[in-house]
Structure formats: C-alpha cells, structure tokens
C-alpha cells in the first residue's frame, strides 16, 4: 500500500497541472458568475481574483489546503458576506440550498427533525415529491427524534432533506462526507449521483475526499486564496502517474502541498 511519502508528493504536483476549462464550453445556461471576487478583513486577504462561472446542473468540486478560503468562498456565494472587491452576478433567480459542515442546535431548544423540516420553504415541491425525498433519505423513522441525538449520518440526511425541500437550483455542500461512516458515505454518493429530474440543480461541493472529487464532479477547482487550477477530473484520471498513485486508493484524502502551486513564483504569494 503506497504511503503518502515524498516520491508520491512530487508526482501529485503533476496532478495539479489540469488544463484550464474552455470558457466557450460554459456558454450552456449560466447560473452564477463570480467576477474577480476578492475578500479581505483588516488588510488580511482571504480570497482574491476569484473568477468563476457556474452553469445550471453543473457539479463543481472545490479542493484546497486549510486556510485556502473555501469557507469564505461558500459564504460569498451564499451571500452571507459581501465581497470587498469584484461582483457576483446571478443570471437566474437563485434558490439556494446549503448543507453546512458543522451544525448543532442549542440544547435549550428541543427541536425535532420534524420541526427543522418544517422550517423549509413550503410549496416548492408537490406532496409526492416531498414524500420521495423523505423515502429515499430514510427520514420518516427519524421525524420525532431530537436533532441533538442524531448521528452524523442521520444529521447529514436531515440537512440534505431540508435543503432539497426548497427545490434549490444551486446546492452548496460543505464537506458532506466529514464524520460519516463508510456506509453513509457510499449511500450519500449514490443519492447525489442519482438525483431525480425534479431535483436536478447546480452543485458546489467542498471536499477533501478525492474519491468524491474524481467520481462525482464534472469540474474540479483547486483553491488557495486564488484559483490555482481547474479542470476536468477525466484529464486527471488518464495520466499514468495518477492511475499508479490513486488507482485503488481514492479513499486517501487530497493533501495539498505548497509546490502544487509552483506555477506562482514565491514572491507573488500573498
């Protein structure tokens, strides 16, 4: 079993030499455009020069080291914070869905699963469609349980159901696999891959999980305060080095190394 040692790291650098996505390809129904977005607090730059187009029904994965600004980017897309430079432009009315990384309800609030689901905007789906979501996410046996007593996997399913009930056209998943047992992971991949037509939407997934990134998305973006590289996972998969390294080890998390961004001279780093 290959371990993450130096010879592998050197070759992982080549993995990051993804070809930039051809812009003309994204002409198909744009949903959201991020135009030279930047965010800084007290002169500390968290993100800059983020330019990105998200098309309808497109799945994008965002990977990157800690401190790369992935959470900040998510908050900007969700309009929870405003960019300090640049613009976000929505080409269609956005119905946002968000499954956060960390979620806990204050213990003083005895919220049940049912109560959380009732907080979702109503009327976006038919009762049959709602029932479909509850069936396939196995929500019904959980309905009267207290949210605080749910396991990680159960919480994730409930949060996903709550997001889907509002029929989002842009769904943001922040580290959806974190804290899940392998069985729940498999189950979650499958569910997201096989979303029915009435739930199809653009998806932005932040993940350290290469398995998901390679399998689940059409586009991968490597973020490190700026967009290091982006491209198609298929372009990664065909390189013989990649296959030799990750062939049957997609489970190993993506570990970003400084030299992955070697295309920038050290002085240019922020």
């Amino acid at each position: 079993m290959p371990n993450i040692s130096d010879p592998i790291d050197a070759k992982v650098a080549s993995v990051c030499s993804l070809k930039p996505l051809d812009c003309s390809q994204a002409a198909a129904s744009k949903l959201l455009s991020l135009d030279n977005l930047g965010y800084q607090i007290d002169h500390q730059v968290l993100l800059n020069h983020i330019s990105l187009q998200i098309a309808q029904h497109e799945t994008i994965s965002i990977i990157g080291p800690n401190g790369a600004g992935k959470s900040t980017l998510i908050k900007l897309i969700l309009r929870l914070i405003a960019p300090t430079s640049g613009q976000i432009h929505a080409h269609l009315p956005l119905q946002l869905g968000y499954v956060p990384q960390r979620f806990s309800v204050p213990a003083i609030l005895p919220l049940r699963v049912q109560d959380l689901l009732n907080q979702a905007k109503k009327g976006r789906l038919t009762p049959q469609q709602n029932a479909f979501i509850f069936e396939n996410l196995a929500i019904n046996p959980l309905r009267h349980k207290q949210l605080r007593y749910l396991s990680g996997g159960e919480t994730q399913r409930v949060l996903l159901a709550r997001a889907l009930l509002e029929k989002p056209n842009l769904l943001i998943l922040d580290e959806p696999m974190q804290g899940l047992d392998p069985e729940s992971e498999v189950w979650l991949y499958q569910f997201i891959d096989e979303l029915p037509d009435f739930l199809r939407c653009a998806m932005v997934v932040v993940s350290h999980d290469l398995h998901w990134v390679m399998k689940g998305s059409r586009r991968v973006i490597c973020l490190n305060k700026h967009i290091c590289c982006e491209g198609q996972p298929s372009e990664l998969a065909i390189t013989p080095e990649f296959q030799k390294l990750f062939g049957h080890h997609y489970e190993q998390p993506y570990v970003h190394k400084a030299h992955h961004c070697e295309h920038h001279a050290p002085q240019e780093t922020l």
């Binding site: 956060p100 003083i108 907080q119």
Partner: protein
C-alpha cells in the same frame, strides 16, 4: 370577603402577564438573551425614575432607557470583552442609576420596594383592559416574528439564506422585550422580571420535546406560579413579586429533582 376583590384583579392581571411571559421567556432562552433581558429589566427602574423626574409617561421613560441600553451595547462592543460580563455591567449601572433617581432626585423613596419587587395587589379592575390589550398586542407581535426567531435560534446562516434579516429581527424582539418589562414592572418589580421570564421556560425545558410543547408547559408553570404567588403574598403578607418568583423557583427545583429521579428510574 373584601380581600377577594383585592386578590381577583391582581390574580387576573398576573395570569394575563403569564400568558405573554411564557412564550417570550422561551424565545429569550432560545436566542441566548437572558442576560440582555435582565439588563433591560434593571433599566426599567431607571426609566421609571426618569419619567417621574421629568414628568413623562412611564412608558416613554422605559422606551428611552431601552433605546439607551441597546445603543450602549452597540457602543461597548469589543471582542476582548465577553458579552455576558458587559451586560452585567450595564445591568448593575442601570440599577444604581434607577435607585439614585428614585431615592434622591424624586420623592419616591416610599415606593422603591414596590418598584423593585412589584405591587401587583394595587392593580385595580380599571387597569385590566389596558393590560389585557397590551399583552394581546405583545402576543400578536410574537406570533408575527415567531418563525423567523426560531429559525435564527436554530442556525443563523440557513435563516439568512431564506431572507431573514438578523439585525431587524433582533431589534424587533428587543422592542417586544422592552414593552414586556414595562408592563411587568408593576407585577413583579424590576429586579424580578427576568425571574418571571426565565424560570417557567427553564422548568418547561426539562419536560418538553418540541418547541410548542415547551411554550405550553411554560404557560402552565407561569400560571401556577402567579396563582400561588398572589395567594401566598396575601396570606403571608409579603411582596407579591417575591412570592411569585419564589414559587416559580420552587417549581423549577421540584421539576428538576423529579426529572432526575425519573431519569434514574428509566435508566435502571
């Protein structure tokens, strides 16, 4: 049976107040604003003092001080200082200012105990319609913001995505709280308003498994507290507010011990 005509309006007034204090108290706990409620409650004392001093209506005095409290908290925002400590400073300063105004600057020394611990037995039949109307308004306002407040208490980002404005909601909630403090002043007095708000809700939490259930249990606890408190204050000749809050504290303690016992029983 003339004492019944004294107790009846007081008991009705207390019951009406309990109807509003139960859901409001639940929200105060869910929104983690118990210390703020306490600061506002202490502020009412100062508000009353200022109103008497400048011959303004009491409501206006309380409203002014409430705005002062909110403005003061915004001003005193510093990440190095924990918010509960800052609120504690504000509360105790307002208490001093209130007592100062009432005892030194006006002729209200005799009434100070009443302002501090309530004078519910002085409520008249003629006071009840206004009280009922105000409480009804308060309940209507709570119903209006209820969903938004619960969503903010659950998880703020998801609430913001739905278009809820955290700041607007917080200010509106503070307004309702200030209004409640103004009307509860007579019932339980400035020092005990937070007891009336928080104790029934805390008791309810021990047995509730859903938000609405918690509100209903809090209403029951508040009602029992008011009833026994009013009768107890007449019977034992103590300040009504003291009696009500002591009963509520006893109810909470009993409920807590009971819940531990039943927990042990179900575990074994």
């Amino acid at each position: 049976m003339s004492w019944l005509s004294i107790i009846a309006p007081a008991w009705i007034a207390g019951s009406i107040l309990a109807l509003l204090s139960a859901p409001l108290g639940c929200l105060v706990l869910w929104r983690r604003m118990a210390f703020f409620a306490d600061a506002l409650a202490h502020g009412t004392l100062f508000g009353v003092g200022l109103a008497i001093l400048f011959q303004l209506p009491i409501g206006l005095g309380v409203a002014l001080v409430s705005i002062l409290v909110v403005a003061g908290l915004v001003f005193l925002d510093d990440e190095r200082l924990p918010s509960d400590a800052v609120l504690s400073v504000v509360a105790v300063t307002l208490l001093c200012l209130g007592l100062l105004t009432l005892t030194q600057l006006t002729n209200q020394q005799a009434n100070v105990l009443g302002f501090l611990f309530g004078s519910l037995l002085e409520v008249d039949w003629s006071d009840l319609p206004v009280l009922a109307g105000t409480c009804l308004l308060g309940i209507a306002a709570l119903v209006y913001i209820w969903q938004a407040q619960i969503k903010l208490a659950t998880y703020e980002p998801l609430a913001k995505i739905q278009g809820i404005h955290p700041l607007k909601q917080r200010l509106f909630f503070m307004g309702i709280l200030a209004g409640f403090c103004a009307i509860a002043l007579q019932a339980v007095g400035s020092l005990l308003i937070s007891g009336l708000l928080v104790l029934p809700a805390l008791t309810a939490r021990l047995y509730a498994s859903a938000p609405k259930q918690m509100v209903i249990f809090a209403m029951i606890a508040a009602q029992v507290g008011v009833t026994f408190g009013v009768w107890g204050s007449v019977w034992l000749d103590i300040q009504t507010g003291l009696a009500i809050v002591l009963i509520l504290a006893l109810i909470f303690l009993a409920a807590f011990i009971l819940s531990k016992i039943t927990l042990k029983k179900s575990a074994s």
